[in-house]
Symmetry: C2
């Protein structure tokens, strides 16, 4: 498959990151990756069609939130924790905190 393109750290845009995380499905993916890094697309266990999932992952990847590593036929996903923290210190963790707090209600 084609090698996925990831934005450079300095090209990561705040509004793009916020937009990417403003979708419940995508936020759910990010929360799962925060708990369990290096998951394959299928391991996310989401009840959405492949094409829809692929779309959401593309949005997350192109906004600089996740990294996609290809191994065989599988795509392994991980959060760009370090990059995001360098670019926007504390942003991701506060969003993840807020997300886990929201899920408790």
């Amino acid at each position: 498959m084609k090698k996925p393109i990831h934005p450079n750290i300095n090209d990561i845009n705040l509004t793009s990151v916020l937009y990417a995380l403003s979708d419940p499905t995508r936020l759910d993916i990010v929360v799962k990756l925060a708990k369990n890094s290096d998951l394959s697309c299928g391991s996310l266990a989401l009840s959405v069609p492949k094409s829809t999932l692929s779309h959401h992952l593309k949005v997350l990847r192109e906004s600089g939130i996740i990294n996609v590593r290809i191994e065989g036929t599988q795509h392994f996903l991980s959060l760009r924790n370090n990059d995001l923290d360098i670019r926007f210190s504390g942003l991701l963790s506060s969003i993840l905190d807020a997300a886990s707090y929201s899920n408790l209600t």
Copy 2:
């Protein structure tokens, strides 16, 4: 004018907040309010038509980010700092930090 409706603290939704802040114009408004609280709509000095500004302010208000207080013919805007911090601790400040950091580039 009609009294504007503000969501209760517990009805403030994370994805709605992130979505509201993912628009450059709205994020700009929030940054200005963070620096200078209690501004009227006109004092924001944005180069957008009144109707467009009104739309953005409605999105910010309904997502629970800003408070609108009417005095005469003017609407005074302020961030719901405390409410947001109670609901999502540290979220707004980390976004504001990221926004000010972005503007330096």
